[in-house]
Symmetry: D2
Subunit: 438 residues, 4 copies
């Protein structure tokens, strides 16, 4: 039996991580081929990655074939698993998503606020195309999407895509478990968190260590400013005692944007003035990474990659593929259809949630009602996502404007219009759905 994994966006600087993950799991997850796919503009990068991947595989001695493709449909033939980590418009587009809202005093980041909405608008149509190809070419394969904003992209795929075997992946839940492990000084594998919410808007409702409920203790410890957890790419500032006592929920780092807006904005502006946008910082990091990757003696993932930001994304994806392949039935945190798991959200919404992962994909654990203190804000965020998805598939600026206006990081009639128009113009080439009638 052969197992083929296709990596769309294979020229990404993150790819070595997923290669490392696949090689390391080869005993339980014996794949026979890794097919890297990218677009023509990324030819040089893809070739660099392909060669590095070849060296990594060779070093491992595992019988895995590595191939590179610029024709996606060809690559998908015979695929069992497909991962997606693309960036439509590249870092140049990201730079605009970050700079333009901030220039109007609007907070946000690659995946949230006005910029995150535009990333969704550019990305969703491309993922729908991928899903269409998969439905035709490899209908039994699983798509693991970790292209951001992963929650909205997954919901768009479930609502409008032709291929329904889709799982959205994010590293935040894993990072939160790691953070809790540090705080409690225990093993990450022993940390179970009952997650409730949406991608980048997820809360931990309960922390269990080997079945013991230690939520109170974790919340207590998080009151100590030294005990914070946060991914590398976003600023962390900790949470007040009152916040932790009142909500009794573990926030995720992105919640700072929504609940600590004033200080986040200040820091964002300061940061921008010092270093430019995060996109520009990343650009430099990427260049330096690719310089390393080009080194023909390099045969492993370099340590620098871990500081790049999205650590553990690939790990999460590898774990899910392994569990599907082996019908493991272990609990992992994924983006999947709500289908009643959270009764306060629509059935056809995608939520980020714990699920048993097996051959049939994820089976969600039932959650029930949202915690009273965050019910409305989660519903608001989901509604905002629904509007973004409608905008992305229809190209209707009315939906887009509504999404921007109710987004807590915009919510101003005049600014929403201004930033919408500027971003539509800036991303013109990557948003054909909004210009189809011109």
């Amino acid at each position: 039996m052969t197992v083929k994994v296709v990596i769309i966006g294979g020229g990404s600087s993150y790819t070595p991580e997923i290669i490392e993950g696949l090689v390391a799991r080869h005993d339980q997850f014996p794949i026979s081929e890794i097919a890297l796919v990218d677009i023509e503009q990324g030819r040089a990068k893809l070739q660099t990655i392909e060669q590095l991947a070849q060296r990594m595989v060779a070093k491992s001695g595992k019988p895995i074939k590595v191939t590179a493709h610029f024709d996606r449909r060809q690559a998908l033939e015979g695929a069992h698993f497909v991962t997606s980590q693309i960036r439509v418009g590249g870092l140049k587009a990201r730079e605009k998503d970050e700079r333009i809202p901030l220039s109007h005093g609007l907070l946000g980041q690659e995946t949230n606020g006005a910029g995150g909405i535009f990333k969704a608008l550019r990305t969703i149509p491309v993922l729908l195309d991928i899903a269409e190809d998969m439905a035709a070419i490899c209908p039994d394969a699983w798509l693991l999407n970790f292209t951001n904003p992963a929650g909205m992209v997954t919901e768009a795929l479930m609502k409008h895509g032709k291929h329904k075997q889709v799982i959205g992946v994010c590293n935040i839940p894993f990072n939160m478990r790691t953070g809790v492990a540090e705080v409690l000084q225990c093993e990450t594998n022993d940390v179970e968190i009952e997650f409730v919410g949406l991608n980048h808007f997820i809360f931990g409702r309960r922390v269990l260590i080997k079945g013991e409920d230690r939520t109170e203790e974790v919340l207590e410890k998080l009151k100590d400013p030294d005990n914070q957890y946060s991914p590398a790419n976003i600023v962390s500032e900790g949470w007040s005692d009152l916040f932790l006592s009142a909500f009794k929920l573990l926030p995720n780092p992105y919640h700072s944007y929504y609940f600590k807006g004033a200080s986040m904005l200040e820091k964002s502006i300061e940061d921008y003035n010092k270093n430019g946008t995060r996109a520009e910082v990343v650009q430099t990091v990427e260049e330096s990474l690719f310089k390393k990757y080009d080194d023909v003696t390099l045969d492993h993932k370099p340590e620098e990659l871990e500081q790049r930001g999205g650590a553990y994304y690939s790990d999460a994806a590898c774990n899910i593929m392994t569990s599907i392949f082996n019908d493991s039935g272990d609990v992992q945190t994924v983006n999947t259809l709500n289908n009643g798991a959270i009764s306060d959200l629509p059935d056809d919404a995608v939520i980020e949630t714990n699920a048993l992962i097996g051959k049939q994909g994820p089976r969600t654990l039932s959650i029930g009602k949202l915690p009273l203190g965050v019910k409305g804000i989660v519903q608001l965020m989901k509604n905002m996502e629904e509007l973004v998805i409608e905008a992305a598939v229809t190209g209707d600026t009315h939906y887009l404007y509504q999404a921007l206006l109710i987004n807590p990081l915009v919510r101003d009639e005049a600014l929403a219009e201004t930033v919408m128009n500027e971003l539509l113009e800036a991303h013109k080439d990557d948003l054909p759905q909004f210009y189809k009638n011109v």
Copy 2:
């Protein structure tokens, strides 16, 4: 048959309006007694109002007895209808609700934002006491509450009160109909608006004139800045073409606070610097009104009262009482239990909605789903209200903090805590539930 109307907060400067309304409707709604009730501190005002009311009734020649009471339970005996228009803590408390949040750059007003939340905290326990008295003394009477924030107060009464024959009343829906009548140059009575939402967060989904759907036309006309509708007490600024085209909903004037925050804040500060708080302005208006009321030759509601702000509140209340009395079954807009009328909101939520008004009280028209563009923001507001009500009845600052933090007019971790503490301290005497364990 005798019909007795009890007016709690009878010493209010608004009372002449309701007296006028009751007198004018006497043919269809033949009441035999108006009992004015107020607290001891309001003795002078109540006496002024009582005498003015006597003169108004005398002039009309209607056989109505007017009485004044400082013992509420005594006044409630034999009551058929009870109205409530009270201000716990008086204008002094309002002044704090307005000044303290603004001093931290937080937008708001008597009924919304941090100040509105504190008004609810002070008011809800008193209304629950009134409901308890009514359940014991006049269990068949209807309570018409127009004490603000009317939606939250009504929901608190439905959830926690001993007396369930309660209807919440607001003048905004009527004002919106009047505004539309002006815009379309037709009679207010011919304007039907399908309302959807919550008190002070209501939208018009459809405008019917004699059954014809003229929603598009109204929205189009509202794009002209001269065609605005707004009550006297809040600033109006109009809505952009894009807002009106995208949402296809008639906003109410309070929506400016949520969707036009930046300019509203600027104007609020400007206004404060020029005139002080609205409470202080009203204080002056009130003094001048009572001076008029004291004039023993005055035997009608003076015109100045209409500029006071809450015009049509009493009218709305009088209409409802008349329809209940006559089992009219006409459509009026009230605050009442959702009970499934809006499927996206909890059954036990109070909504502001069209209902048939008859002897058995309101029978709500089914609404179905909220419009997609505002679903989440309405759910958020309702969730915020739920938290305020929990805080008001338990005196638990954790609920209060959650309500403040998710309120779109606060939503900052540090500011929520600061403003909460300052307002708790400022209103200490009127918030015994938060100080019971001290």
Copy 3:
């Protein structure tokens, strides 16, 4: 302005009733044309009816044109209102619906049990065709369907039809009001019943007389066996004291089939042995009626028609048309989309419910939860209807079998299959959707 009413199934023996109703309401509802439509096989009857209608109109002196058509599309041109009262397969088909189930000991009647299901299967496709024609030819017209089973037919039209301005009509709610009026010795117009449920499975939750709640009194009086209400076409047997006390709901006559199955079956068999099927009885009545109609001196609806069974159907339809035309906004009982009115039933279900009737059609009164004692049985009936509709539009016998098996009047694995096969065979010519692949 001209107003055109199209009567599909115009050759029905009921048509004189609707003609009478339209003539009588001409002052408020000034129609200019009545177009009678029927199929070629009904040519003789249609002509008889047309001529009778001409005589009735002539006698009234109203300026109404009466026309007869065998081309439905032609008749629909310029229509404002369309009524449907058809019988696919005629009384011959009805005879099979009644005889075949009974031959297996299965209870039922024209509109319920296995026979009622097959009537739906024959009827739904024809009504969907009518809706398609209306969408193309008279898209603004209202369709008033009183073809049975009216609830299922209306739901099929709302789910699968191309024309959504549809209202389902039944005479049972009106009959229940009349029955209550008799019991309480008051005017039918003063009787308001809060209806809850489905067509032919409707309950009265509350009886109001001029706003006074007299439910208890009605229930008490119904315990007297002389105080029954029932339409002419179904047997009535009264309800036990315990039933009335326990449920505190007014049943409708069809509930006897579900709750008094044993005695109903006994009577049905007795009746069949004595008189044959109801279809055969009706056949005789019809012949005698048409003999009367042929009399060229007859210029009014003959009294015998009232004993025919479906009295007040036409009345209900005329009332609705008049209220739509005049935007009256009065409360009438119709079959329309649930859309949240009953929270225990799907949004896309059709329910029988009180609604305000105006130019925009029905606006449903919110009902909330079903009464606990009948929640499950109403949900079961609705589920059965959903399955019938699926079967009718797909021709899938699996849906049909499921519908039969869970129907409380069948619910036996072996009998469901037997009766299904016999009825499918018997109605072969009228059920093309089940034979399309043969």
Copy 4:
């Protein structure tokens, strides 16, 4: 650390099975004490069981103390797990539950139909007492209830009990997995069934063998009459090809009562005429079992017990206790709160469902909507259960009558009343809640 298991109804003939199960699992689930509890009337039996248990433990060499108690509160001290397998009124009461309905031609059995309802009425108050004791004495202990009707009893405990750590247990799901294993000739442990529904009204929606979906194959094989699965105590008759093809669900043996009523009734009467009630048959089996148990050389569970009927109940209970103790997180089928897992049923309903079992109890897998073909009938059964629970806690015959009338095994106005009155009289001594005002 000591672990104490309390067995309420310890004098039951089933107890040796649970003793065997506890001894066999001692390595993973090292209990230190088994406390057997029974009522005074069962003294002789309890002593027999205690001595047999002592011998079984002695033979195993495990360090487990066995104690016997007639004071339940004393036995509960220090308990970690409590199982309940009681029969209020004993086999004499069961005999009435079986005989009286059948004498009126009503189908049913110990746990369903009119008899099952009365078993619930007798049992629920006793279990509520046990829960009250546990809340006071061993608040951290888990109650595993396998007293029938297990679903209703568990729901009553969750709604009205003082102790919420309750799990309902039934052997049917395990038996269905065993049956499928036989049909597919594989290991029971490899069979996963996605269960949907209620206790004794559960369906299998999907069969997975090591993650492969083999539902179609199982349904196909069940069409062969030799491939049936059924517990010993109820008659099995197989399902028609059409039933299996149309519903695409695995029925459980109790579904014969609902979908194959005619033949079941025939067999029940035949069986009764031949052997008397099942209670009487069991009486004989019990006597013979206790004779065996009294044999002082017996030190293991005798084989005859397996033919007794309830095989695997104890196994199910032992598995759950072991998984809780070890925080295993494996999937087991339990009766627990719906809490949104099935969106078509109330949140506070108890459903029979797959759940992860760990230290915090069950965490339910989300199910979503009920299959369309059985949605209504499951909702009806749940509604019936709700009414029974209301009747059991209030002693209100109106709820009881409603439950009987809508129960598909009764559903006749006159019979419901007759059987209700006869059973109320017959069980007078065990139904104090219905006689409290006499």
